[in-house]
Symmetry: C2
Subunit: 192 residues, 2 copies
């Protein structure tokens, strides 16, 4: 097992992408935000020391929905009912496009992050979890993309700098929820 003993050296960001993703028929869509995606993935991100969690959606009503959820847990009733939830959701920023997430990280880190797509399907050149841990240990900032609906659109995958190995179990069933996949992938990359 390689490094990651010092979280401070790892500069990992994640994005939950609602556009461009594909639907059941393979067409590009903007998917709706699922409340529990925000909670579950923010909690995993906070657990594993992720620096920021971008929710990517171009839809104004969906951005408003996310901001209402954040407000409830960060400053509203939820913040006193369960403060640990706000601690996790405090990582969330809503942006309209993937490029906006990349630019926000560039401003924060003063260097453009490398983009890593995830996919449940095999692609020609994928990076192993061990290799990605080594890359993270270099201290360079990375942005890890998770697709909602039926997954990231091909353009989001082909324009990424790397594609991570799919999460495969010992069976031929390959349909994890994005909430479970995000947790498993963060554990593989940053778990002890």
């Amino acid at each position: 097992v390689s490094g990651n003993s010092k979280t401070a050296d790892v500069r990992l960001y994640i994005a939950l992408v609602h556009h461009p993703v594909v639907n059941k028929d393979g067409n590009i869509i903007a998917s709706a935000v699922t409340n529990l995606d925000l909670h579950d993935i923010a909690r995993a991100a906070r657990t594993y020391g992720v620096r920021g969690f971008f929710v990517v959606t171009p839809l104004e009503d969906q951005k408003e929905l996310v901001n209402k959820i954040l407000e409830h847990w960060l400053t509203g009733h939820g913040s006193t009912y369960n403060p640990t939830r706000g601690e996790a959701l405090g990582l969330v920023k809503v942006v309209s496009t993937l490029e906006a997430a990349i630019e926000a990280i560039e401003q924060e880190e003063t260097v453009r992050p490398a983009v890593v797509a995830t996919s449940s399907r095999g692609h020609r050149q994928t990076v192993s979890y061990q290799r990605m841990r080594q890359k993270l240990d270099s201290g360079h900032p990375f942005l890890l993309l998770f697709g909602t609906a039926w997954g990231l659109a091909r353009t989001a995958i082909t324009t990424a700098d790397h594609v991570l190995d799919p999460v495969i179990g010992p069976t031929d069933y390959n349909h994890l929820s994005v909430r479970a996949a995000a947790g498993i992938i963060l554990d593989r990359l940053l778990g002890q």
Copy 2:
């Protein structure tokens, strides 16, 4: 990394426990069933070759709710809309008590399973993931317990045969969702 190359040898069952669990104040309650818990954990269970997924609740209305959800995805509209969902939810059985789950496994496997509790808190004697992989490789049946709400009640933990190490990231934040924790734990026990 130890074994598990042949799923057929591993006889792992899981239970999502809604009673006895504790609430925010540490009191024992019966929690409500969350629809996405069933989907996410069933999909992870199917991915990793788990033999059965018991939803434990003593509440009649909650049992009915689970059975309605199962019906929708196994034989109703959902079964044609997304057949892979039914393939996962086909693992689910609803039972009133943990003992009923244990007995159902005993009938299936002709030997009583060893019970393994999970907890986000440390306990005196916990078993590592590597050690548990070895135990699973022995071919003996195991039942892995996941608690809803604020976690399994102390009685469910102290009466278990083993308690698994908590899932800890490189931070002090220790509040994963049960959906993410179940995925991560199955990956650590059965992932390649």
